[in-house]
């Protein structure tokens, strides 16, 4: 067992080294991400500020609270894209036959899938996320107690798991349809709108959807509502929301692993 884990670690480290080299190959590529990601997210929060300043708080969420929510959602997105970005590319691997290579090696297929491309560029997503979140914490007067920090880490872990589970399940579709790239874009924009704005601004049906069917609300909205003591929000669930996120995250993740294994059974190689 111990040697097996060590083996997995050494393979992951080797993959990571290759990934870094690949990503540093084109400096302008890196530079363009470095420009684009902060522009995109800082302008996003800036526009929320403009709206709140000209109008009024959104369903009781004022600008400091919105910043907190936006930052929390963005950090979990950033961590997700560092570790799980390859789940977006399952269709390409299936079409090009690269997936066969994973099946031939004596290692867990899912591990190889995600470990073979650790996306260091994704750390760029984390930077505006952390800045916006810390700014939001300042504005709302978030207390950095040990308990709160542990809760926060658990929420982030759960949030990343929920995102990963969604994209793994989505990627599995590629085993049947051979392509789902456009579905990825669709899900990304849904996640963005579902985690960076309070879901209580949406109609009841969408809130139900984001709570019970696709638990996107647990990535940032419910935890933020809990941290900020906003009681009269959407649904009242019995558990403390901050604790519910990791539980739901792991449940979704295991479910998605099951779906992934089920999908692999119907995998047929597209390579020649």
């Amino acid at each position: 067992m111990g040697s097996s884990i060590r083996h997995y670690f050494s393979v992951a480290a080797c993959f990571a080294r290759l990934a870094i080299q690949r990503q540093l190959e084109y400096p302008l590529f890196l530079f363009s991400w470095l420009l684009m990601i902060p522009i995109q997210y800082f302008s996003g929060i800036w526009m929320l500020k403009i709206i709140v300043d000209r109008f009024q708080p959104l369903n009781g969420w004022d600008f400091p609270e919105l910043t907190f929510l936006y930052g929390l959602g963005l950090i979990s997105h950033g961590i997700f894209v560092v570790f799980f970005i390859n789940t977006w590319h399952i269709d390409r691997m299936v079409i090009e036959g690269a997936f066969d290579r994973l099946l031939l090696r004596p290692m867990n297929v899912f591990f190889q899938l995600v470990a073979s491309y650790i996306n260091f560029i994704g750390l760029i997503d984390c930077i505006p996320g952390i800045i916006i979140f810390i700014y939001g914490c300042q504005l709302v007067g978030f207390e950095w107690t040990l308990l709160n920090i542990i809760k926060l880490l658990l929420v982030l872990l759960g949030g990343v798991m929920i995102r990963a589970a969604l994209f793994i399940s989505l990627g599995t579709i590629a085993f049947w349809t051979k392509r789902n790239a456009s579905m990825v874009g669709f899900t990304l924009s849904m996640l963005e709108r579902g985690t960076m704005y309070p879901i209580s601004i949406y109609p009841y049906a969408i809130q139900v959807l984001f709570t019970f069917i696709l638990p996107i609300g647990f990535i940032s909205f419910y935890p933020a509502a809990e941290f900020l003591n906003k009681s009269s929000e959407a649904f009242q669930l019995p558990l403390s929301f901050a604790l519910a996120t990791p539980v739901i995250g792991f449940a979704c993740f295991f479910l998605s692993q099951w779906i992934f294994r089920f999908g692999m059974k119907s995998y047929e190689s597209a390579g020649s």
Partner: protein, 265 residues
């Protein structure tokens, strides 16, 4: 001559129409953006019927819906086309053609635009009408001015896109500079939040930039926030930007062509 361009436009139109699944997903994505933005405005108005900057919730709903439709119609693939063709070395075959290179790419984008009209705008319009009521223009005159204003907007966007594309000739690996430009345009064009709500200083600066004339001008005309007189003046500014960018592109193109380096064999 024109036949050659029409052929390219038609081919692009037909290939775009062939990918049904992509179209469904794209309509779905735009639908989510539309719903999210409209509900955001609803929350901002908070059920009240007050007007802010002389705009009602209905005006902003129409503005948002139309903005998303325009975004899916304004196909500016030229920046990516140049980038990929240079990367793959295919640009050489395009230079062989007896018609100007950039005009080919424009014909291609126009084909994309026509197909987007059919398979993206119509479904989005139907959904928008079902959810929020038909987004009528404020007046017939407004609608009649909206169309030419959109064409000028597209010209500005396309020229900007082509200018970015030209950078690829110099640096080979352009990366996502096109997306950097797109994210700046998205904010400063007023496509998400109209610039009328932005701080005064930003509005002043923006008057001297081409971006607000790409989305805000036609949309403002459509919802009647820009009167006929102002609309004509704004379209004049649009025209000036088209002319300036065209001259700039022509000048850059002359110097760039000689820089062409063919990769691969």
């Amino acid at each position: 001559m024109l036949q050659a361009y029409w052929y390219m436009t038609k081919m692009r139109l037909l290939t775009s129409l062939a990918y049904r699944f992509e179209v469904f997903a794209s309509v779905g994505t735009n639908l989510i953006l539309m719903l999210a933005s409209v509900f955001l405005w609803k929350a901002a108005y908070g059920g009240g019927t007050q007007q802010i900057n002389a705009l009602s919730l209905q005006d902003l709903t129409t503005y948002t819906v139309l903005s998303i439709m325009l975004a899916s119609v304004f196909v500016c693939g030229v920046q990516d086309t140049i980038y990929y063709k240079i990367r793959e070395g295919q640009i050489v075959t395009d230079f062989y053609r007896p018609i100007p290179l950039l005009a080919c790419y424009l014909a291609d984008d126009l084909g994309g635009m026509l197909s987007a009209m059919i398979n993206k705008v119509i479904p989005l319009f139907v959904f928008a009408a079902l959810f929020f009521g038909v987004p009528w223009p404020a007046s017939l005159a407004g609608f009649l001015l909206f169309i030419p204003s959109c064409l000028l907007s597209y010209a500005i966007l396309w020229l900007l896109s082509a200018l970015i594309g030209l950078i690829a000739f110099w640096v080979m690996e352009l990366g996502n500079m096109g997306m950097v430009k797109d994210s700046i345009v998205r904010v400063l064009s007023g496509s998400i939040v109209p610039l009328w709500f932005f701080p005064e200083s930003v509005q002043t600066v923006s008057k001297f930039l081409p971006f607000q004339y790409t989305y805000q001008t036609p949309l403002g005309i459509y919802i009647g926030n820009i009167g006929i007189q102002d609309a004509l003046a704004a379209m004049g500014v649009q025209f000036i930007w088209v002319a300036l960018l065209f001259i700039l592109l022509a000048a850059c193109w002359k110097r760039t062509k000689s820089k062409t380096l063919i990769q691969g064999g």
